[in-house]
Amino acid sequence: MGRRGVLRLLGVGALGIAPLPILPSLLRSALSGKLVRSRGPVARTPDGRIRQWSMVIDLRRCDGCQSVGLPPQCTAACIEGHFGPEPMEWIQVFEGDLPGGGTQFIPTPCQQCQNPPCVNVCPVAATFSTPEGTVLIDQERCIGCRICMAACPYDRRFFNWGKAPVPPESLMADYSAEHQVPTRRGTVMKCDFCPDMMRDGVLPYCVQACPNNAIYYGDLEEDVASNGDEIIVVSRFLSENQAYRIKEDLGTKPRVYYIPGHGEAVGRDVFKKGRLPTRWPWVETVKGARTWKR
């Protein structure tokens, strides 16, 4: 092969490689004719600033629903509202040990990190941060590689391992990443922070259902939050009550704040252990569905 041949080869090679960087865009425009249905319009304050959703959980008021004699009601309401399949507890009430032998109950939704490890590692941007500061998953794009589950330090991601045990009527819902109904096999799910409900001015299921009003939900931009009973100024409430975030040292910057406690405000004895196990209320589930353990 002479000099001319080498040059010709190089030229053809360069022409062959040149389209590679724009190949993904070409494929995208060719394949996704329909609009992505993953998300509605961004929520704004009356003067047009983007709302920054956040949650404050007052552990002084959480007794794991011992006083009402039911499984945790935040979890139950979330399951009912999202047609959550067993064994997913998007907001899960963990029982943590306290020094001295007592325990505390910690309702744990997705922490909506501002430096989210799951979003960082997702290969296809199926999980993404929104302008409102929350993290969502587009189950119509997720490839099920589960690296986000490896990355999440809060154990807040759930996988649809098989045909999920959900009621048949859930399959008729219009899918959106803000509500995640119906479930999609082979994809990851988690707490979506209910931005679709807040757009209509309705508090998330878990907040509504808490019998002790332990969960506040609101907007950091307007510095206001509500547990459905009272309204707080978030900055003052957090500062005056020794608020903390789970695993603060990891630098994930969660949007879920906790006020330390063990249910003392609602009369729980710190040594009274245990909560009732979560139940999934579905009488009828889709044909051929099976539950699994976490």
Binding site: P24, C145, G162, R185
Partner: protein, 455 residues
């Protein structure tokens, strides 16, 4: 000169033998492998039908045998290219009879390994999303890039030095084998006539490829480790992971090369070319990497264990005392210390001893990969009871099929392509003191140091 000609003829005969003659055992072996693969395909079809629920993986231990096998295969892919490139760069002449096998292990292992990532996906139907929506911030995309680059480079690096041998096959086999083979050799030998200009171009291309492939190979396993190390989980949150993975990869790669070499040597009677010297030299290389692995383990576990943070304590207990202790001590003792001793002690420093060491290393490195994945996931993140993971028959079958595919591709390769780098070995033959007979160790004599064979 007379002796050289006959040696050359014997060499060509040895290289051509697998292609020209096929025994009954060969068909039986291929049939067996095909059956294992068919069973694995059936198992995978169950998984496609029912979802990943048929595996033992669940939310809290969400990667298992598949990712273990992926990491292991990418690891043994370092057998080839890296070892052969390093030996070529350092001009160790004794490498010539083994480079072709080594390079082929790389290509096959990469293909098998990449397959397991797709098998592990919850939505394999959406695998194209990786290209359509891929984002460079994700370690998975780094992996896709690194592995495809490495695969391309490995194929080039396998192919380039094979061209003269393919031409030899084209010329020697004309009329003796099926027409498609001749057409294949004709096509692949790219009109090689052995002119001085062709030799010069090929030499240049090989030099470029071998220098490029070393950093690529190192990057590949570093990036594989970053799938784990880019997370906040206690046992994975480590800066040593990349280097540790690369060392482990080369370690298990050498072991695999030794095993494959021993099998092919036996089956195709290559004793004249693959001698005890090759096993001993590769054994030395493996012993060196055993020492590096021991160093890596001490460095990793002493720095975390000395301080014993909460998650580290759990991890140490499950590895060294509880759940995984039996297998973990097997990895440490049986996979690092014993193989090292087998190689270093003079009375086991023979083919059998070194093959035994290599088998131990391969088993132990698989176990190590398994613990990195499963034990890493098992450390609880929140106040819940630690999960358990037990692979199901589906995962075991698919994994077995993966190994069968690896063996099958190598089996088929030796039937079609030259397993010895004929021209490179022939070059050695022309220097009398390097004739294969001289390569055999006199019994009891201490072998010369690895790499010194050329001087």
């Amino acid at each position: 000169m007379e002796a050289v000609t006959t040696a050359r003829e014997r060499l060509e005969r040895a290289a051509l033998a697998p292609v020209t003659g096929t025994s009954r055992w060969y068909y039986a072996w291929v049939a067996f492998l095909l059956m294992v693969i068919a069973w694995g395909v059936y198992a995978y079809s169950r998984q496609l039908h029912d979802g990943l629920i048929v595996t033992g993986m669940r939310d809290r231990i969400s990667w298992g045998l598949y990712i273990t096998t992926f990491v292991f295969f990418i690891g043994i892919s370092h057998a080839g290219t890296l070892i052969s490139a390093i030996l070529r760069v350092s001009q160790a002449r004794w490498r010539t009879p083994i480079t072709r096998m080594a390079e082929f292990i790389t290509v096959v292992a990469l293909c098998c390994g990449a397959l397991f990532v797709i098998i592990d996906l919850g939505r394999p139907d959406r695998v194209l999303n990786v290209i359509i929506y891929g984002r460079w911030q994700s370690p998975i995309i780094w992996d896709v890039l690194a592995i495809t680059t490495y695969l391309t480079a490995s194929i080039a690096y396998l192919f380039l030095p094979m061209i003269p041998d393919l031409a030899l096959f084209r010329d020697r086999l004309a009329g003796r084998v099926a027409g498609w083979r001749i057409r294949l050799y004709d096509l692949l030998s790219v009109r090689w006539q052995g002119t001085a200009a062709q030799w010069r171009y090929m030499g240049g291309a090989i030099t470029t490829a071998m220098i490029l492939i070393i950093p690529i190979a190192v990057s590949v396993h570093t990036v594989v480790s970053w799938i784990f190390a880019m997370t906040l989980r206690e046992p994975w949150n480590s800066t040593i992971f990349g280097a540790f993975f690369v060392a482990g990869a080369i370690f298990s790669g050498i072991a695999t090369l030794i095993v494959v070499m021993a099998v092919l040597r036996k089956v195709y009677h290559l004793e004249e070319y693959i001698t005890e010297k090759h096993f001993v030299y590769l054994g030395y290389l493996m012993a060196a990497f055993a020492l590096i692995m021991i160093y890596g383990n001490i460095s990793e576990y002493l720095t975390t264990g000395y301080k014993m943070e909460e998650g580290a304590e759990f991890h140490f207990r499950q590895l060294f005392l509880e759940q995984f202790a039996g297998f973990y001590w097997f990895y440490l003792i049986g996979g690092l210390v014993v193989p090292g001793l087998l190689i270093l002690l003079p009375w086991t420093r023979n083919i059998w001893g070194i093959v035994a060491a290599a088998l131990l290393v391969d088993a132990a490195m698989w176990v190590e990969r398994y613990f990195i994945v499963v034990a890493g996931f098992r450390v609880p993140l929140m106040p819940y009871k630690p999960s358990v993971y037990a692979p199901t028959w589906v995962e075991l079958s698919v994994m077995a099929a993966g190994f069968a595919l690896f063996a099958l591709l190598i089996t088929l390769f030796v039937k079609v392509f030259p397993i010895l780098a004929v021209w490179e070995v022939a070059e050695d033959l022309e220097t009398p003191e390097l004739a294969p007979e001289a390569g055999r160790l006199p019994s009891g004599a201490a072998p010369e140091p690895a790499g010194g064979g050329s001087r």
